[in-house]
């Protein structure tokens, strides 16, 4: 395991959603090259955790920081979020969709992370939807849309990938391809945090299993290889 | 008491104001009853607040 400087540190995270406490005092750290896999039953707070890391749900308490990242950027500005929604505009063509995100999202390549720097065309080819580049995104099937959404992560280098059930709605073949990309990202020195209901074949996995419990103690964290 | 030629307007404005105030009072009172009943219903199911003194948030 390559050990580097980049490290996403969460301390005593507490989140309220809809006036209700989702979890309390959750702490963990993920280093470069590592994938944190968040598991747990329905409604336990996996998506909420990822959205918190993405800066989309406000913290009720606790701190979140990225050691070794660019100092003048917030952690979420150095992260990609790949959730249930595709952020694909059906009225734009596939390459227009992608080009917009390339110009719009600020890239971020801290020391020790090598983002790969795909061009939009290469990214689409890599994901096997190069032939659709000039079609309106409305013509894509659900799986193709998801792959288009994924190519966003390739064209703008950012060290942290937050992925909420990334394999959902994908068939087996597409799932393998996705895992390959995630492993490459880890090898490049990136960090992956993913919530899932299935087992993912990633290189360096740490599991964060959320489960209902007494207030206060609610997580088991185990390091697996 | 003689309220002059415009007594109707005076009485109407006082009466309607009193009605409005009464409506406001009824609103807060009924609302209170509703919430109390809901709390009691929940308490009957054994669901009560377990952090009576911690501030919210």
């Amino acid at each position: 395991m390559r050990s580097g400087f980049l490290k996403l540190v969460a301390e005593n995270l507490t989140i309220d959603r809809g006036g209700r406490r989702v979890f309390q005092d959750l702490s963990f750290a993920v280093e470069r090259g590592e994938a944190l896999v968040v598991t747990g039953a329905n409604g336990i707070g996996k998506s909420s955790l990822l959205r918190t890391l993405a800066g989309l749900v406000p913290l009720a308490a606790g701190t979140l920081r990225l050691d070794g990242g660019l100092p003048d950027l917030l952690p979420q500005e150095q992260a990609h979020y790949f959730g249930h929604q595709d952020a694909v505009k059906p009225a734009l063509s596939v390459s227009e969709n992608l080009q917009f995100w390339q110009s719009f999202a600020a890239p971020c390549e801290p020391d020790g992370f090598d983002g790969g720097r795909y061009t939009p065309g290469e990214a689409l080819e890599t994901l096997g939807i190069g032939h659709t580049a000039h079609l309106p995104a409305a013509y894509l099937s659900a799986g193709q849309r998801r792959r288009l959404s994924l190519s966003r992560l390739l064209i703008t280098p950012r060290p942290i990938w937050l992925m909420d059930e990334p394999t959902s709605a994908l068939d087996k073949a597409s799932e393998q391809q996705l895992l390959g990309l995630m492993n490459t990202h880890l090898d490049n020195g990136g960090v992956v945090v993913t919530a899932t209901h299935t087992d993912l074949a990633l290189n360096q996995i740490r599991t964060l299993h959320l489960q209902a419990g007494d207030p206060g103690k609610l997580l088991q964290e185990e390091a697996m290889s | 008491m003689d309220l002059g030629p415009h007594s109707g307007f005076i009485i109407a404005s006082y009466a309607l104001c009193i009605l409005t105030v009464l409506a406001l009072v009824a609103w807060v009172r009924i609302d209170k009853l509703v919430q109390d009943r809901a709390l009691k219903e929940l308490a009957d199911q054994g669901i009560v607040r377990n952090r009576p003194d911690t501030p919210k948030q």
Binding site: L56, Q85, V88, K89, L92, Q99, F100, F104, A106 | -
Partner: protein, 223 residues
Amino acid sequence: MSGWAMALFKRDLRLSVRIGGSALVGVLFFLAVVTVIPFGVGPDLNLLARIGPAILWIGALLATLLGLDRLFQADREDGTLDLMMMSGRPLELVVLVKCLAHWIATGLPLVVAAPLLGVFLNLDPVSMGAVTATLLVGTPALTLIGAIGASLTVSLRRGGLLLAVLVIPLAIPVLIFGVSSADAAIHDPVPFLTPFLILCALTLIAAVVGPVASAAALRFSSD
């Protein structure tokens, strides 16, 4: 405009043009309101000419506000808004650019259509020019103020009507000075420039307050 702003601007413009011609719907609504009023008021041409600028302004106000509900909603529903907040770009500027693109796609057509509709209302050329000028200066303010309503109602499905209700009180000063400078241009004695300059000032204020308040509301609504 820096690169990202230009990309956003172009994208929003493209979307407005491609998706069912939002511009067209706005102008059609404007047309519908303006044609419906004579059916109600009756075909008295003098009366129509007198209230013409008001009708055009009210039509433009409603068309602008009611067309704003999708300004952020579309982006929120497909997750784009989340990504925008993570993009590392100042949200206030993002809002401003989106408003600009939206105004060009839907506000400008209203301004262009106004003189044509003026013909139906028996407006003379001077009033037509005046109304068009005030609309040109005033509708951006409506869009910018409306953006506040759009971001407040971004998470509510039933945005349109509520947005209008929330924003109309905020838009009243714009309406007052818009109509009064148009009227001033028609009835010579009153100076045209004073209310017109106030209208310009209102637009500038809206260009600051709108995006700031709107960005704040968007940040709070993210979840």
